[in-house]
């Protein structure tokens, strides 16, 4: 569990290009991490599936730092995270209240139905506290607010359709300029890379939807290895373009084709799964995932009884 700072830098160096870090930045990062007092991070979960936290745990390659605990031990001071923290109850909440300088990470949208009580995060002094209220009390004092995943950034799947719990994205609920790490889930490198930028003190250039342009600057389509290939007419056709199966690559901005997922093992299109557009603010649209053309060619309407 030593040399984690060096390992962290090594990790950042490996993915520096994708994260928009220059060698100069890496030097600054080294200085930032060497300084006493690792920055505090408070991570709250709202109307989410916890998939972005699980994704974060996946973030390291075989090269050191091997596991996320190295980051936690030496790079940041994680004050609160519901899935991994040891403390429970008032001890956990008091740690939040005692923290004056922190980065606030939000995972999950904000249900507003029933005065926010469709999502309670803890109780304090005997009173139930909703996710909405926790954000109201913590966002204004944060050094920066990072929204992780589609639900926090844009509402995501729980906000789709008739939006049963009247979800508002955490990003808009704060009323602040947040950094939006899109994705369903967000990729671990996108999360860590953005935190690294903040540690250096860099400003993170954002697009009109609050997404870092260094990550979400190009479409999946423009980097797709199947671009211009023969079109698949049904599923499980390796190597073919899945435009007719509803692929959302042309309007989805994400680095999946070259960054891939799960330590570079694979990604959706490599498994013959059309891109479902999971980093786009419109996700999920009301249209079927396999539309517009996919349905007629795959689950042929004329065949349906």
């Amino acid at each position: 569990m030593e040399v984690t700072r060096r390992d962290f830098l090594k990790y950042c160096g490996m993915s520096a290009g994708a994260l928009g870090l220059s060698m100069f930045d890496l030097g600054l990062l080294n200085n930032a991490l060497a300084a006493d007092g690792a920055p505090s991070v408070i991570w709250l979960q709202g109307s989410s599936c916890n998939g972005c936290s699980i994704s974060l745990l996946n973030r390291i390659s075989d090269t050191a730092p091997k596991t996320v605990d190295d980051l936690l031990l030496n790079s940041i001071d994680l004050i609160f995270h519901p899935n991994v923290m040891g403390p429970a109850g008032s001890e956990a909440v008091e740690a939040i209240r005692a923290t004056k300088s922190y980065i606030l990470v939000l995972e999950g949208g904000v249900p507003t139905v029933y005065d926010g009580m469709a999502c309670k995060v803890w109780s304090e002094n005997g009173v139930d506290v909703s996710y909405a209220e926790a954000i109201r009390s913590l966002a204004p004092g944060a050094m920066k607010v990072i929204c992780v995943g589609q639900c926090a950034c844009f509402g995501g799947i729980p906000a789709s359709g008739n939006n049963p719990t009247q979800i508002v994205s955490a990003s808009s609920y704060t009323g602040l300029e947040t950094i939006n790490i899109a994705g369903c889930p967000a990729h671990p490198d996108w999360i860590v890379g953005t935190i690294a930028q903040l540690l250096i003190g860099n400003s993170v250039p954002l697009d009109e939807f609050g997404r870092p342009t260094s990550i979400f600057g190009e479409t999946v389509h423009s980097n797709c290895p199947r671009l211009g290939k023969e079109k698949a007419t049904t599923f499980a056709e390796t190597g073919k373009c899945m435009m007719d199966l509803g692929c959302r690559g042309p309007f989805t901005y994400a680095p999946c084709p070259y960054m891939k997922w799960n330590n570079g093992v694979s990604w959706c299109i490599n498994a013959n799964g059309p891109c479902i557009g999971c980093t786009d603010p419109s996700y999920p649209t009301a249209e079927a995932f396999y539309s517009p053309l996919g349905l007629t060619s795959f689950y042929g309407k004329k065949n349906r009884k």
Binding site: M1, S47, S48, C49, N50, G51, C52, S53, I54, L57, N58, K66, T67, V68, P82, N83, V84, G86, P87, A88, G89, S90, E91, V93, A95, C119, K120, V121, G156, P158, S160, G161, P164, T165, P185, T234, F235, A236, T238, W261, N262, N263, V265, S266, C268, I269, N270, A271, N272, G273, P274, C278, P284, A288, F289, Y290, F298, Y299, N303, R304
Partner: protein, 465 residues
């Protein structure tokens, strides 16, 4: 004097949940005498599926849970296969099993070390691990340090389990590869070799680290074989079909009442009660095939966003212990430590089966068959998630989803009281749990975590007046 303690949130679980326990002395032993378990998050997934294309269900329902998305994908495509009377190719079945198997194994490893272990040992003496609830620690310092080392190794193994799933499934969490009719990824020899390497590593960890650690825990804390017993009613939908007709499964389907003999299961005998849930009373005690999700908040006496599924009116425990018991693999007992041990042994059984399935994959054979989903119809898919029985129920009208009901494992285990005022399985299991310090009821956490609830949990502890 009565004291009142609030412990909220309880951490190291997924989702949002609250447990209220009343603690009092019985026969000179301070213990839990009453318990209320409440789910604190409502998202209404079932409602937002209505009107969508049926083939969207696997994508949408995976987002119910980022920890166990694959079983939701499995249940969704099994439901559509049933509605369309589709027999998928053997390779498709094996692909589905292998990706779900990897999800089970890494989820079990995650549970034992990241979610559960800190109830028994102190983590590294810094945030986010350090806690002052350092009560009833029985391992010596050297052993504790070894276990912390295993905790760190477990994060790596959990990640590798997710990578194994991604080899065939494309990515984890949330795979795009499950479709009605089979699977999208066409396996190559290279993929099979890579998956096999991951499986070998996982098996090595399970055999040489996870199982010995679970057995050591059960030995050092053997009083927890008498704590957290609950009803002893066990239910398993069964999972991991071994043939395309679904006749044989790695885990069989059935029920066990009061820890006795196995009986067959009839899905029609499942109903959901909502007397103590924030749902309209008119929607109570009905089968999920005709189930509705209509909220009512606030509501007198209600305390949870969970419904109360019951089987032939009985509260049922689900999970690895239920699966292993129904299948005849583990029948030692029902308790905190029996749950921990059954989960560890199950990880081995599944990981070994993964190697077998991998050897049956035929490169070049189809993984997918075209299927025709009817415009109108009904169907359901029953499978298992790492935490227990999972069912999806679908109603199609005009080619669109007209109704969708999901019963998750945690709904069974963490359900509130039912229409007949019977406690939910976890509520029942908490009764009688001895508590040293009501301000720091780590013993309550041990019972709660033994179920591996997929919720954020909050415990309110109060002493009886």
């Amino acid at each position: 004097m009565a004291t009142f303690t609030i412990i909220d949130p309880v951490t190291r679980i997924e989702g949002h949940m609250q447990v209220n326990v009343t603690i009092d002395a019985v026969d000179g032993v301070q213990q839990v005498v009453d318990a209320h378990v409440a789910g604190n998050l409502f998202r209404g997934f079932e409602n937002l599926l209505v009107g969508r294309e049926p083939t969207d269900a696997q994508h949408i329902t995976q987002r119910i849970c980022g920890v166990c998305p694959i079983p939701h994908a499995m249940a969704a495509v099994m439901t559509l296969d049933a509605v369309s009377k589709t027999k998928i190719p053997v390779n498709g079945l094996l692909m589905r099993n292998l990706v779900m198997g990897a999800n089970f194994v890494e989820s079990h490893i995650l549970h034992f070390y990241l979610l559960s272990a800190l109830d028994y040992i102190d983590g590294p003496a810094m945030r986010p691990w350090q806690s002052t609830w350092s009560i009833d620690r029985r391992f010596d310092t050297a052993t504790t340090n070894v276990l912390i080392g295993h905790y760190l190794k477990a994060i790596e193994m959990k990640r590798k389990g997710q990578e194994a799933a991604a080899v065939f499934g494309g990515k984890q969490p949330h795979s795009p590869a499950y479709v009605p009719g089979g699977f999208t990824n066409v396996p190559t020899q290279e993929q099979i070799t890579l998956f096999g390497q991951y499986a070998d590593e996982l098996i090595d960890f399970i055999n040489n680290i996870y199982i010995p650690d679970a057995e050591a825990l059960a030995s050092v804390y053997d009083d927890y074989k008498d704590i957290g017993k609950g009803y002893g009613n066990l239910l398993s939908f069964g999972c991991f079909d071994e043939d395309v007709k679904g006749k044989h499964r790695l885990f069989s389907r059935g029920t066990v009442m009061d820890a006795h003999k196995k009986k067959p299961l009839a899905a029609a005998k499942i109903t959901e009660h909502v007397k103590y849930g924030w749902y309209k009373a008119s929607t109570s005690n009905i089968n999920p095939s005709v189930g509705q999700t209509e909220t009512e908040y606030p509501k007198d006496n209600a305390y949870s966003w969970l419904k109360s599924p019951r089987y032939m009116k009985a509260p049922m425990e689900v999970g690895p212990l239920a699966r292993m018991w129904v299948n005849g693999d583990y029948t030692e007992g029902v308790s905190v430590m029996d749950r921990q041990l059954a989960r560890a042994y199950e990880a081995k059984k599944i990981a070994d089966a993964m190697k077998r399935w991998l050897g049956s994959v035929e490169v070049g054979n189809p993984v997918f068959v075209k299927t025709s989903i009817p415009m109108k119809g009904k169907g359901f898919g029953l499978t298992e998630a790492p935490r227990g029985a999972l069912g999806h129920w679908l109603k199609l009208e005009g080619g669109k989803i007209a109704g969708y009901q999901v019963i998750t494992p945690t709904c069974w285990n963490c359900s509130p009281r039912d229409d007949n005022n019977q406690l939910g399985p976890m509520e029942k299991a908490l009764i009688g749990t001895p508590v040293q310090d009501p301000d720091k009821p780590v013993e309550v956490l041990r019972v709660v975590h033994s179920f591996d609830p997929c919720l954020d949990c909050a415990v309110h502890a109060m002493r009886a007046k």
